[in-house]
Symmetry: C2
């Protein structure tokens, strides 16, 4: 007996449509940003978060949290962005392990340059094709998924801790 709860035909159709739609949207936005602003979407998000932080500085770990990024990924990304002159790393006096990521003027300019095209792309390919009702529905659906997955992440981390602790 297979305990697997397979998808019904209707579910399968929805899942495939959703999957394709999301992949197309991702690919579209990614390539728009790469082509017109020379940055991947992940870097755009980092710039956004930094630009909204007080003083446009953030501890690496805070930045990782805010962008839901692993520390490793962020470290690689900031290294490259620093090479681009968009960000500057600064050491922390009160905790010598820590470091800050400081948005530079060039970084802010790059963001300002990139934003209109990106926002226009989001509007065109998402909000323009949905009714106000659908936008509301999408918000609720997204919240539901987040609600499920966010705790799941925490739980996975906890399990990981457990695993490490017991040397299992």
């Amino acid at each position: 007996m297979s305990g697997t709860r397979w998808l019904t035909d209707a579910e399968q159709r929805v899942w495939r449509d959703f999957s394709v739609a999301v992949n197309m949207l991702r690919a579209h936005l990614e390539s728009q940003l790469q082509r017109d602003a020379g940055m991947p979407h992940a870097y755009y998000e980092i710039l956004v978060v930094l630009s909204e932080a007080p003083g446009r500085v953030l501890r690496m770990s805070e930045l990782a949290l805010a962008t839901r990024s692993s520390r490793s990924r962020l470290s690689h990304a900031v290294a490259r962005m620093e090479a681009n002159g968009w960000v500057r790393r600064e050491s922390c006096d009160t905790d010598k392990r820590g470091s800050f990521a400081q948005l530079t003027a060039a970084g802010l300019a790059a963001l300002a340059e990139a934003a209109p095209g990106h926002v226009e792309a989001v509007r065109e390919s998402l909000f323009d094709v949905l009714t106000p009702d659908q936008v509301r529905q999408l918000g609720e659906i997204s919240a539901a998924i987040r609600g499920k997955l966010a705790p799941r992440c925490a739980e996975a981390e906890a399990a990981e801790l457990e695993r490490l602790e017991h040397g299992d």
Copy 2:
């Protein structure tokens, strides 16, 4: 005057929720599949499409189309999957440029092994958290996005052709 149609606060909230939800979902499914079946999601999709093809064979270009993949990506992927023993390339008699991708027994077995966990993950993190109404809504929303972006892809291709043609 900025011609940019910026997002309203409400739109911005929906966009960020959506963005985060989709990223979490992607990451969750990707890591589940990688951990439990040792394959990225893209390879899973290739296996699915191949398994559903008559004779479990498909021309590379058909496979690329069906998986909405670039030929390059598919070529790299199939190369690796062939190394894994999941797929076998076969040359085409009627068109000597062409080649077939043939799903092997091992490939089918890998898919059969991977499917239950993957489907369960999809169900848990998506269908279980949505009401039947929301599932329907998500289907319509996805169709709307596809409807917008699918022609846009064709259009981009056409523009590309144009560009090449005029040596622009």
